[in-house]
Symmetry: C2
Subunit: 426 residues, 2 copies
């Protein structure tokens, strides 16, 4: 039995700052992104390192939008009163084939959807609106309707002109973006290397996931949760084992990780009690403490510091607080390093999906689930939302933001939410 | 020059069915999922192969929610009129440590957040509400406020009782779910093997992405787009090179792929014109044609067939139609194989974000982008939405569903959308 309490020490003199101020402080220490080239099939989910412009117009040739006949539209002027105009078919143009025949008045070419329209032709008549006739070894196509110039032809550069912006720097590459890259032959894609984040849990009470349960001890779940959150943000997590409650030993692990990774995130050890080793660590000399208290719940003890130029996020060990701290602080740092134009999670004005009574002096981030009811977005708070509660994280796709001093809230009251990325909506 | 037109043949006698009927027909041919075990760190994004139940209650011990002192709450009855009650501190309990001291009246134990509450104690008083006194080598803690039984103690099974359902079969594993698995020590996770999908493009006009541009030819972008969509659905794509416009050669590739993969998806070759080799392929003997026309735009020629028991999706080569066909038909098949309880993309009732005039005899799926305006969801149609247009796919996160015969629509009209998964919202 030992006593280490000294309630008059610095541990209790934390100065709380707002979430916005905390975000501002960590964002000042984002590392510059490093460009790497990946092959197109591996580019999904990555962030573009530079803006890309169209190397050629698209389409780069006059493209037929129909299976049918390429014609000179003026030839169809006589299609009235059910009169059929007959044109001599002089070529057949499948996709990928370029005709060397000039289409002049009285001529037509059979053409497929997507094929290059031959010189001279200025319209395509769809196959179903034509009929054929053979005469003296020649084939004629009969048309019955007037067609306008340009009909069923996609002009050069219809979608994009050469040099137009294709994709902005910082764009995350999904199905549509990958399609654009392939279309323009960009098979080696400049992306930002995934920010590498060391994930460390503190606490002698932590069991690894494959250890049998022991009295008074819990398994290290935060590291695995943080790893998923980091991947969703666009980073690459490296899970360290949990470090014991010893400032020196933990300090060595953290210092080492700060040298070898872009960021270090820890969970646990930041409360005001004993064995709060991360709290002690950031009070050491040479550490630039950014903050160790935020006016938010959960996670008021969330701490960040710069050590030897490296950014350390010391999150609460409570699962709910750890989750929120990562989404609000680490995520925008990762996204900024990746060049994303909007590194913060989006905030929406929506309606409250159920009464909410909890009042607080701090801004509260309440785990909740969005629902669409007749075109309106509702956010339904989780039944149990204590910071120590782990089970409701999985059922949440947003955080309701309850400003300090807010009174009782009723269903359908206007509220603000922060939309999470990973959760649901599909 | 050759002629192969015969407008009276089967090509033009396609019987169109509804999207819902088409979905029903492909869903009858979903292969059963195969269970595989993956280590927890690799389980992100995977789908659970079986329901999991809590192997123990959680928390599995009475947990302190505060740094402070574990006490017998009845001892604080005398805390009134500013009278301090003094209790002798007999132990200090960090996290992970189990005290062997019984706390009886007059005694207390220093305890950390998350530690196991000692026997006999029925409340924890927070550190900040206490003071200390030393007397004759003993330490006493002074309390000034009455505490209720259970204060700051999380009871056993507060979050989950032993045997309760943890996660349903078919659950996709995100940050919250991974946290649950780690908490309960489930380090080997039973998931459904990713459905393997062969991706084949047809068309002699197709260049590979690393080939220089040629007149009349385009690069094979659909295969890469489909690969992203398949991964987002939970499948594993295998990109084949594009096959030339030759029924026999394409048939061999498709047959071979059907034997070695769970599903085969092709793009191109399904229109009514010449060289529509997929259309020809599915008309051959031994092929169970599910449909070759759907009352939808884009993608009315979308085709599916069962060949030797294998399911073939023959999508349009138009990028927009190919994208929609994959989302509406292939995606639910993949998700059903993965056991997802809701394999279809969600449909929402929202408001139209801009006027829309295009009228059609078929159900139209209009690429669009959702916006939240003051708690309401709006869907803004893409400026250019032709099926052949590739560029607007990347800017879409939903498809507006416009039923056949719908008249002009105005901004703020009520509409239905299908919410896509990949697009934005963050």
């Amino acid at each position: 039995m030992k006593y280490s309490d000294d309630y008059t020490n610095d541990k209790f003199k934390r100065r709380a700052i707002s979430v916005e101020e905390a975000q501002k402080r960590v964002m000042e220490h984002v590392r510059p992104g490093i460009t790497e080239i990946v092959p197109l099939p591996e580019a999904q989910g990555r962030f573009l390192a530079e803006p890309l412009h169209a190397p050629h117009p698209y389409p780069h040739f006059r493209r037929s939008g129909m299976d049918g006949y390429a014609v000179v539209s003026a030839d169809t002027k006589n299609c009235k009163d059910d009169e059929t105009v007959w044109l001599r078919v002089v070529d057949e143009i499948p996709c990928g084939y370029v005709s060397d025949r000039l289409i002049t008045s009285g001529l037509a070419a059979r053409i497929m959807t997507g094929a290059q329209v031959p010189e001279g032709a200025d319209a395509v008549v769809m196959l179903e609106a034509t009929r054929l006739r053979e005469e003296a070894g020649d084939v004629y196509v009969g048309l019955k309707k007037i067609v306008e110039p340009g009909n069923n032809i996609t002009p050069v550069g219809y979608e994009l002109q050469e040099g137009e912006l294709l994709l902005e720097k910082g764009t995350r590459l999904g199905a549509g973006e990958i399609s654009v890259l392939a279309t323009f032959g960009i098979h080696s894609v400049p992306v930002i290397r995934k920010p590498r984040v060391a994930v460390i849990s503190t606490g002698s009470e932590l069991l690894s996931v494959d250890e049998p349960l022991q009295p008074g001890r819990i398994r290290n779940s935060n590291s695995f949760m943080l790893a998923v959150q980091i991947r969703e943000a666009g980073g690459e997590p490296y899970i360290f084992g949990s470090v014991p409650d010893d400032v020196k030993a933990a300090g060595r692990v953290v210092m080492d990780a700060l040298q070898n990774f872009d960021y270090v995130v820890t969970s646990g050890g930041v409360s005001v009690g004993d064995y709060d080793i991360m709290g002690d660590l950031v009070r050491q000399e040479g550490v630039d403490l950014l903050f160790n208290k935020i006016t938010m719940r959960p996670g008021s003890v969330t701490t960040a510091a710069v050590i030897n130029g490296g950014l350390l996020f010391a999150l609460s060990g409570n699962p709910g607080a750890c989750f929120v701290g990562c989404e609000l602080l680490l995520r925008p740092v990762i996204r900024t390093m990746l060049g994303a134009p909007q590194p913060f999670l989006p905030r929406w004005q929506v309606l409250l999906g159920a009464d909410y009574n909890r009042v607080n002096n701090y801004t509260r981030f309440v785990r909740a689930r969005t629902e669409i009811r007749d075109g309106r977005v509702y956010a339904v708070p989780a039944a149990v939302d204590e910071s120590s509660v782990m089970i409701s994280i999985k059922d949440s796709d947003c955080l309701i933001v309850i400003p300090p001093g807010t009174g009782q809230l009723e269903e359908a009251d206007k509220i603000e939410i922060i939309k999470l990325e990973g959760g649901g909506w599909s």
